[in-house]
Amino acid sequence: MKGGAVFRLEDELREGESVDGLVLLLRGDEDTGTKLLRQAARLAAAYTYRGVAARGVSLFAAASEDDDVVNAVLQAKLRTYETYRRITGERLARLASAVELLPTFKDPHWTALLPQIGEKEALATFLDILGPVRDNPVYEKPRRSRR
């Protein structure tokens, strides 16, 4: 094990924000269980929350469903993805009941913290509520693809 810092997600919470104020969350790309677990593992290796590894997935909030507002978030944070998903309304409420939604790091970043018990079910809910895949209007299709 190397020396170095251990990071606490508690230290990265934004004050004055709660899930009650959430209108819309965005995820770039088409998620799979494997991809979500990979991101959860990366976060867990870096951060703890309440003394245990923080297994969570990142999302970005938009203040409204207005296309201009959504596109601004896509441009700032998710422009590299060809597609994205919107989580709002009843699906957002279902997500909030399956995971702990935390306002983390800098606005508009949020973390969906997976539960220690019932992670598999929470992931299934996450994938179920993501909604239809949408074309990202700010995405610029490359001529060269990755190897």
Binding site: A46, S58, F60, T80, K106
Partner: protein
């Protein structure tokens, strides 16, 4: 002619943005750790998503080295086009 393909230097998740407002990842996700040095320009990828990035900071952590990345504007294509053009000495 075969389509040109881009081999990224490192895998990241572009959703992973921390309090510095930079994208972060783990050095263990670099295909070429030797090029992931502070100030270097590298190509990062999340599955099919690609971007140019500048390595902003390396942070030692109990579980390894965290790489903080400034994602640069534009597409990787744009940078490669400039490189090809200037190497060829053509203004077009």
């Amino acid at each position: 002619m075969d389509e040109e393909k881009i081999s990224p230097d490192m895998e990241v998740d572009f959703h992973n943005v921390d309090g510095t407002d930079l994208v972060w990842g783990w050095m263990t996700d670099a295909y070429h750790p030797e090029v992931v040095g502070v100030g270097n320009i590298i190509v990062v990828a999340d599955e099919s998503a690609l971007a140019m990035a500048r390595v902003a900071e390396l942070v030692e952590h109990e579980n390894g080295t965290i790489v903080r990345l400034e994602i640069l504007p534009g597409r990787v294509d744009d940078y490669l086009d400039v490189a090809v053009r200037v190497l060829a000495g053509s203004p077009a």
